[in-house]
């Protein structure tokens, strides 16, 4: 089911959590709301669920399949919600937790007991926890609780599944497994899903599309590839992973960052403005000699080779820290060690200029 959010703002006392946010979620997609804490992503999720209401404004609305649900309360919207800390019912077994949504239906709509049993067993099978049906939440591991919370949300056959930091409270290894499992589950169940995360790897790996939020606004909406390779703003570029940042200026149509002089095909209006250069660590090459490309001199400070990539920390001639990532094979050919003077050149970078004049 498609979801549409129109012009939503939300303030808590003096704090503005959302500023005029509009968003469309396509039918059947798995969408990630990605942003740092305090960026408003969880608030947006809770407004969609009906657990929070947006600031009342005539143009703001939440629509499910084109139908305005702004005034419906959470129970009427039929959404599945998975809480960050699972919120399993501690006084009920796993079985009863999953059955809860089916049992609280009005009598006329409630399924028969055998029907409820069948549905719960089906879901238990889906989450591979059939043998733990009689356990209480306190007797489960974090990953198991997470799966029970998901099954409980799916039991009411929700029109949309909302997950708040679904893997936030789990350790790295369980997280990895559950991520892949969630993706697989979504491919099987096909329910429109939104999940909130502050982990860009998680968003990029699992989601069909990613919404990057910052300070109550949406910075960019796009596929993981778009968001990663074509960040729409400095914030997105920075948030998508470690970057090197250089400060410079546009001079005679070129972007000048100290010793680095780069082509800049912006308008002439940007002349004289300050500019910032963002380069990912793996878009930098290290060489012993100047290779004709724009490059800067740097001194190797530290080499960290434990991991899938070799990380080299350097200090540029202007004293700025630079980090470079390279494959073990390339690093083997290069043969540098701490203290060496080298040249660092860029393969790819993005330049952002101030889009306003002072």
């Amino acid at each position: 089911m498609a979801i549409e959010v129109r012009h939503i703002s939300k303030t808590f006392g003096g704090f503005t959590a959302l500023r005029d946010v509009s968003l469309e979620v396509r039918d059947g997609e798995l969408l990630a709301l990605l942003g740092p804490s305090g960026s408003g992503k969880t608030t947006l999720l809770r407004i969609i669920a009906g657990l929070e209401s947006a600031d009342p404004r005539p143009e703001s609305a939440v629509l499910f399949e084109g139908q305005d649900v702004t005034r419906q309360d959470a129970g009427q919207r039929r959404v599945g919600f998975v809480f960050q800390h699972y919120a399993l019912f501690r006084n009920m077994t796993v079985f009863e937790n999953i059955a809860f949504g089916l049992r609280v239906r009005p009598r006329a709509l409630r399924s028969s007991e055998p029907e409820i049993r069948r549905r719960v067993m089906e879901l238990l099978e889906l989450i591979h926890l059939q043998e733990l049906a009689g356990r209480y939440p306190s007797q489960l591991s974090g990953g198991q609780r997470q799966r029970v919370a998901l099954a409980r949300a799916l039991a009411i056959q929700p029109k949309v599944l909302l997950l708040d930091e679904p893997f936030g409270a789990l350790d790295a290894k369980v997280r990895q497994g559950l991520r892949r499992w969630l993706r697989k589950l979504h491919d099987e169940v096909h329910v429109t899903s939104l999940f909130v995360t502050h982990d860009q790897d998680e968003a990029l790996e699992v989601a069909d599309r990613v919404v990057v939020t910052n300070q109550g606004r949406i910075e960019q909406v796009g596929t993981p590839e778009e968001v990663f390779h074509h960040p729409a703003s400095e914030f997105v570029m920075d948030f998508m992973g470690h970057v090197n940042l250089f400060h410079g200026r546009i001079e005679s149509g070129k972007a000048v960052f100290g010793p680095l002089v780069l082509h800049h095909n912006g308008s002439s209006a940007s002349e004289g403005r300050s500019a910032r250069l963002f380069v990912r660590p793996y878009d930098l090459d290290i060489a012993h000699h100047h290779n004709g490309k724009p490059s800067l001199r740097a001194r190797v400070v530290r080499i960290q080779s434990a991991g899938p990539q070799v990380k080299v920390e350097l200090e540029s001639e202007t004293g700025e820290p630079v980090s470079v990532e390279t494959s073990h094979a390339q690093f083997g050919e290069l043969r540098v060690s701490s203290g060496d003077q080298v040249f660092v050149s860029l393969r790819d970078a993005r330049i952002f200029t101030e889009d306003y004049s002072i």
Binding site: G75, F81, G134, A153, A155
Partner: protein, 300 residues
């Protein structure tokens, strides 16, 4: 598992020394101090009550309890508790729910008000009721015209009992409910539960132990209350005397055997209340384990 006593004996061996443990001498002296204190202030008085009560033999004991005024006092005490405890259960649950799960203006004032009966001397509490409902009190003339008796009558005793036992349930529930938060309720809401289902299936089961514990404390205090009840009672034998008041009257009349007999009954009630609490806790925990084990066996 190392037995604490054994570990204590082995403390002289440096290799076995566990730095997290206090020296044996300190542990034993602390334990002894606690036990001694308990013996002196709890066990010994209890023993004295029972030995004094039975000093003149079972027949006298039995007669003191079966005496009509004593029976009336027992009935009144049980009646006051039977009214005060359910009232405070409802009030305590409502107040704790409001305080723990919602944000509103005046919340701190409410919390302070709930604690008031703990802070105010019970005698003062009794006096307040006399000043309000007594013949010379604010509402006295109005009550008189409508032929309603509150002070020196059963309603006054019930009122005073409700007042002094008022914080027990709420105080017991508030910290637990605050710790549990509102996420489970929110989850139930999203799953379509109505307000009553929410309360009956989520909120109430999650606090049932604290609720029971609060009710038991409340019962014990309701039956034992002296000061506030003494002020509003008027000490009319057979009519407005509760058990503690009856004990006092008998004692003042140098009728020690009878006084201690009724006192022993109060002590017994307290012991039974505590016993019930222990048994219930143990029983229901057992039940939970059984259900879990059965369900697992059933699924396997």
């Amino acid at each position: 598992m190392a037995h604490p006593a054994i570990l204590g004996d082995q403390l002289s061996e440096p290799a076995r020394r566990d730095s997290r443990r206090e020296p044996a001498a300190l542990r034993w002296s602390l334990t002894l101090a606690a036990l001694g204190f308990l013996a002196l202030f709890v066990a010994l008085p209890l023993l004295v009550v029972f030995s004094q009560a039975l000093q003149k033999g079972l027949a006298v004991y039995w007669a003191a309890i079966r005496e009509p005024d004593a029976l009336a006092a027992i009935r009144l005490t049980l009646l006051a508790a039977a009214i005060a405890v359910p009232l405070n259960l409802v009030f305590g649950l409502a107040a704790a729910w409001a305080i723990a799960k919602f944000q509103f203006r005046g919340k701190n004032v409410l919390v302070t008000l709930i604690d008031l009966p703990f802070a105010v001397s019970p005698v003062i509490a009794g006096l307040i009721f006399v000043l309000m409902f007594g013949a010379q009190g604010w509402l006295g003339p109005w009550l008189g015209r409508h032929d309603l008796e509150i002070i020196f009558a059963v309603p006054g005793i019930v009122l005073a009992t409700v007042f002094v036992t008022f914080p027990f349930v709420a105080r017991e529930l508030i910290p637990l409910m605050q710790a549990q938060g509102t996420e489970e309720e929110q989850a139930a809401l999203v799953l379509g539960a109505g307000a009553w289902q929410l309360f009956r299936r989520i909120t109430l089961p999650n606090v049932k132990w604290s609720l029971l514990y609060g009710a038991i404390l409340c019962t014990a205090r309701a039956m034992g209350e002296f000061g506030a009840v003494s002020v509003v009672s008027g000490h009319i034998r057979g009519q407005t005397n509760t058990m503690p008041l009856h004990v006092e009257i008998l004692y003042n009349e140098y009728n020690f055997a009878a006084a201690f007999a009724v006192a022993s009954l109060l002590a017994l009630l307290a012991l039974v209340t505590l016993g019930v609490k222990r048994i219930l806790e143990w029983r229901i925990r057992q039940l939970h384990r059984d259900i879990a084990a059965l369900a697992e066996a059933g699924e396997a």
